[in-house]
Amino acid sequence: MGCGLCEVYCALAHSTSQDLIKAFKRERPRPVARIRVERVDGLFLPMQCRHCPDSPCVNACLTGAMYKDPDSGAVTVDPYKCSGCWTCILVCPYGVITRDIGTGIVAKCDLCQGRDVPACVANCPNEALVCIEDGADGQPLPLAAAAQERAGGH
């Protein structure tokens, strides 16, 4: 339905205050959503990291900041090592890595490390976003938003 609550709760989950009003009204730098709902002609397409098995962003990272957790399969960025060169943005075929202008480094979906269910999935009112464990290559791999094409109402 394109409500955008996933964007709101993603930014909140990645905020310092963890308080909805504070996060959006007062926090500087502003927390950045790592999911983005594309809205084109009645299609609503929530886009975030696919945590690719052979991740172009990890391979292209100039600093070793972008890495794939061998156990969880999640691709995350080490904020202390990221230099904000944006090479990962250039090579991501989904266009789901963004600049966090406030911090000068990249922001991307980390599958909400430390939570049982990613915030976008937990707060999707239509259950359009789901989190599945993909073991096709013998490795459990959480993947949010598998149902996005259905979510578009096609």
């Binding site: 944006w86 075929p93 989904y94 096709a136 996005q148």
Partner: protein
């Protein structure tokens, strides 16, 4: 190894003895940066235990060369520049022979002699030797205060010699020159940038994007001198040994306290010069990153790998390509047949807050077979170059989000005839593509999950 034996090793007549006593590596990698590390990781994905050594003349664990700019700016120390955790070598059973370079390779007997005199035997060899900064032979080029800027030691030397209030002439307006200029400005050093072409980043960007970068540089009070280069380096009046200024080709003298050459890198190929390994400008490799010599591979700045835009092998000395080539080399060394899908020139840059990404052919306005899509906004600029409805080049400045989708379409040679108009729109995303194409692009990772591991398919 005993000294006596080591001496024997150096005698050509005792090569067979040397082979017998030198520690034999299943895999030997010369070079401990992007390509070498990527290859080692790929090898370990296939072969967990084969004896593997990495040799490098630099004494450090692999670090990010691009970060030497932030290091020089005082923003980083070595520990936040390491490419991998400190236990990387141990955990992956990699013998790290750091601080002593490879002096000579004996391709027929499969030996590498190190600078410290040790000899190693190998079954599979990777030449990930990188590049060396190009320094023109100039009158006065030997003076104290003349530097290059490609590794940590260079950054240390510049950091020791150059202080707040000094003036430094940077020769070269490419990526390295600009990253250096940023670091120097942060240190309170006045920067004069001298570029031979009529614009900065002339090989990476088109004229419009170069102009936006030049604005950003000038805003930081970097003085740009275009269409010029250094002719001579002159001394200080009071000290003949030290740099006092740079004389340009037009005869002008720029007084300065230091000069840094950042005009590019040349492939580092001295180990293969005069050897059976085929050498063009760089080491010639196949799509499996194999050289002309059996069991010898090469990658990174030292090698000429496949460019999918130019449809030929050529030097593209950029980090992501070194990693991609290194992975393919590593897989093949370990026995997994993987083919390099090719890459092309690609650069990204964050120049004093101005974000820029570019790839492929960006400056082809004069080619009548090319079609150019371009759009500008406030502080933003997007250009896509098409040939036969396929993307062959791209430049995004300012707003670079989702540029990767365009890069992906370019890399996979997708026909974009039906969606040309949306490609440069500011809110472009996968949602803007025609249904069938969007579904295909969305399932990339899924097909990867179902299919083979690794880069090449």
């Amino acid at each position: 190894m005993a000294t006596r034996k080591r001496r024997e090793l150096r005698q050509p007549s005792s090569v067979s003895t040397a082979k017998a006593i030198a520690p034999e590596m299943e895999y030997l990698i010369i070079g401990n940066s992007a390509g070498g590390i990527a290859a080692a990781e790929a090898i370990r994905e296939v072969d967990k235990n084969g004896r593997l050594a990495i040799v490098s003349e630099e004494p450090y664990f692999a670090y990010s060369r691009p970060l030497i700019s932030e290091y020089l700016a005082g923003e980083r120390s070595l520990d936040t520049m390491l490419l991998r955790p400190v236990d990387f070598y141990e955990r992956n059973k990699i013998e790290a022979l750091l601080g002593t370079g490879a002096a000579r390779v004996d391709f027929s007997h499969r030996l590498v002699e190190l600078e410290d005199g040790r000899t190693l035997a190998w079954r599979k060899l990777l030449l990930a030797t990188g590049g060396v900064p190009i320094v023109p032979k100039l009158k006065g080029g030997h003076r104290e205060g003349v530097f290059t800027f490609t590794n940590l030691e260079d950054a240390d030397k510049i950091g020791r010699a150059v202080n707040k209030g000094h003036r430094v002439v940077v020769i070269g307006g490419g990526l390295i020159g600009i990253s250096l200029a940023q670091a120097l400005v942060q240190r309170g050093v006045a920067v004069v940038m001298v570029e031979l072409m009529d614009r900065v980043l002339a090989t990476a960007l088109d004229a419009e994007a170069s102009w936006l970068v030049e604005l950003a540089l000038r805003r930081e009070r970097i003085e740009l001198i275009l269409g010029q280069t250094a002719k001579e380096i002159v001394a200080r009046p009071e000290d003949d040994r030290r740099v006092g200024g740079v004389v340009l080709q037009d005869g002008r003298t720029i007084p300065c306290d230091g000069v840094v050459f950042a005009i590019g890198v040349a492939p580092r190929t001295e180990l293969v010069t005069g050897s059976p390994v085929t050498l063009n400008r760089g080491i010639v490799v196949s799509r499996r990153m194999a050289t002309s010599q059996r069991d010898v591979y090469a990658c990174g700045d030292a090698a000429e790998a496949y460019d999918f835009i130019h449809k030929t092998n050529r030097l593209i000395p950029v980090w992501p390509n070194a990693v991609a080539g290194g992975r393919v080399a590593g897989f093949n060394m370990a026995g997994r047949r993987v083919s390099y899908e090719g890459s092309t020139g690609m650069n990204s840059l964050n120049c004093f807050g101005l974000s820029t990404v570019a790839a492929g052919l960006v400056d082809f306005e004069d080619d009548p077979t090319c079609e150019v899509l371009a759009a500008s906004g406030t502080g933003t600029y997007r250009k896509i170059v098409l040939k036969n409805n396929r993307i062959v080049g791209m430049v995004f400045v300012g707003d670079i989000e989702r540029s990767g989708i365009v890069f992906g379409l370019m890399k996979d040679r997708v026909n974009v005839r039906r969606c040309k108009d949306v490609l440069i729109s500011p809110d472009f995303g996968l949602g803007a593509l025609p249904d069938d194409l969007r579904r295909k692009r969305l399932s990339l990772a899924n097909s990867q999950r179902g299919g083979a591991n690794g880069n090449g398919r």
